[in-house]
């Protein structure tokens, strides 16, 4: 079932007198429990599309519909609220908060999302999530003592601890070696299915593409192929 629709989205940047159209009317929909991979050459517009879909920047034209509401027409505070409660993010680098332990990273996300869970329920949920990403043995560790793969696992746990509807991931394996890349890819796919989340992943990684349920290839601001 489609829970997220991108409808005729365009993005134009103005540089002096030159107007550059980065997205030229893109249409896309995401299904629950599915990983959709966005791929394409550098500059094809895939990262711009992801950030517009995630409410991190506005489209010049078109609609981004989530749960019946158009994100592009909302006030920034409303978009922030949706980002905090309904979206999860994984970036190329883990971007963990350096002064928080692994479990505190997840606790922060529960706070930010406005979770109604009480203290004990939060603890249980965090333990469960860390077990799921196989990081339960490092829950009191700080990011400086984690490896790249471990950091990315924690980042994934942080992205889904509040049970978002959509997971946005921008090159989540780009900073990892092939072994860790494979682990993280499998983890995203498994969690997406297990938690019935729709995932939109920007990637160049062949491994990641092989795990995706749907592959969308972009070129010059347009979708050129859907697999």
């Amino acid at each position: 079932m489609s829970i997220f629709t991108i409808d005729e989205v365009r993005k134009t940047f103005t540089n002096g007198e030159v107007k550059e159209e980065i997205l030229k009317g893109v249409n896309l929909s995401l299904q629950e429990g599915e990983v959709t991979a966005l791929t394409g050459a550098s500059g094809s517009g895939k990262s711009t599309l992801l950030t517009i879909a995630a409410g991190l920047q506005f489209a010049s034209d078109g609609q981004v519909i989530f749960e019946g509401e158009n994100l592009t027409a909302m006030k920034p505070a409303h978009v922030r609220k949706i980002r905090a409660g309904k979206f999860g993010f994984v970036f190329q680098f883990a971007h963990l908060v350096p002064f928080l332990t692994v479990e505190e990273q997840l606790l922060l996300m529960l706070d930010v999302s406005g979770s109604k869970l009480n203290k004990q329920e939060r603890k249980r949920e965090i333990d469960k999530m860390l077990k799921l990403v196989e990081m339960d043995h490092r829950k009191i560790a700080y990011p400086t003592s984690l490896s790249g793969g471990e950091k990315q696992r924690v980042a994934i746990a942080r992205a889904i601890i509040h049970q978002p509807k959509i997971l946005f991931a921008d090159e989540p394996t780009a900073s990892l070696d092939s072994k860790r890349s494979k682990d993280v890819t499998a983890l995203i796919r498994d969690l997406t299915r297990k938690l019935n989340i729709a995932a939109l992943v920007v990637t160049h990684d062949e491994e990641m593409l092989s795990f995706a349920d749907k592959i969308i290839k972009m070129s010059d601001g347009q979708i050129v192929q859907k697999i």
């Binding site: 950030t51 991190l56 609220k81 409660g85 680098f93 971007h95 002064f99 996300m109 706070d111």
Partner: protein, 344 residues
Amino acid sequence: MNMAWKEMKRNKGRFLILGSIVFLVSFLTFMISGLANGLSEDNAGLIKDLPEGHFYMTKEANKTYNLSRIDNNTQNDIFAKHRNAFALSIQMGFLNNHDGKQQSVAFVTSTQSKWFQHVKKGEVILDRSVEDNGIKIGDTLTNKQSGGKLVVKGFVHHSKYSHAPVAYINMDDYKEMFRTSDMQLMYIPGEAKAPTFTGLQAFSKDQFLNTIASYKAEQMSLNMIIWFLIVISGMLFAIFFHMMNVQKMGLYGILKAIGVKTSSLFRMMWTQMAVITVIALVLSIALSEVFNHLAPKGVPFQLTFEITFQLSIVFLIIGFIGSTLSGLQIKKVQPLQAIQQGEM
């Protein structure tokens, strides 16, 4: 979750350095304020302890009370209209004990008033500080200027003028010593608006204090140092948080991306500023109090609760302004930029 506290716990060294500097600056400010207040009491305690009201001196005196001469007729005119008014004169001079040892004093005499001491002719009441020089009740002191003798009838606390102990004398003795029947000043307590009198110029208490040259110069220099230190502490906060924020721009961007409110990031910074300032202030107040008790008797140190409280509030406000100014960068951080940057 209290992110502010977690960051401080994790980066103890960094915050300890800022806290130490704020502590030193605030301690220095409290010390100088204590000295400024002590010197102010030492210089003009006699005037400062009077209730709110207005001083009068002749216009010809040109704001120099020593040159003011208010005759009996003018005094009587004022007494007729303002029953609680009184006339007073202050003159610096010396008293010698039986060994010939000289004691610098400020001779003060006044018409009937409840705020000044009154003695019979040939008697004197002195500020208690003269006891340190061996002067006791019953001693006979000599004024070499007039050759008159004054018997010590008692002592009072905190009655100083121009860094000298006050000597309350009878008006007849005063007239004899300084060969004048006029008084220098009139004082009308309690009037919000100064009544006007022909030939006289009115001064509020603060205005009058500022006509005392040594008082003005002393207090201005010390207050300048105090405000300079307060501004430095504000700048310290601004610079420290600016540097911290520059380092954390990426982090703020990511936090914004995952949905953290900008106001939460500001609250985090304000909490850190408040914790550092409060701890630094508590320590510096405690240390100032210790100094207050241990300071040698000759050091005019007086730090009141009122001054401590006011300065603490000023420090908190300055810290708030400093950190907020530096925090304006947080508002500008775009999540997108942070995501496109590398690992923090």
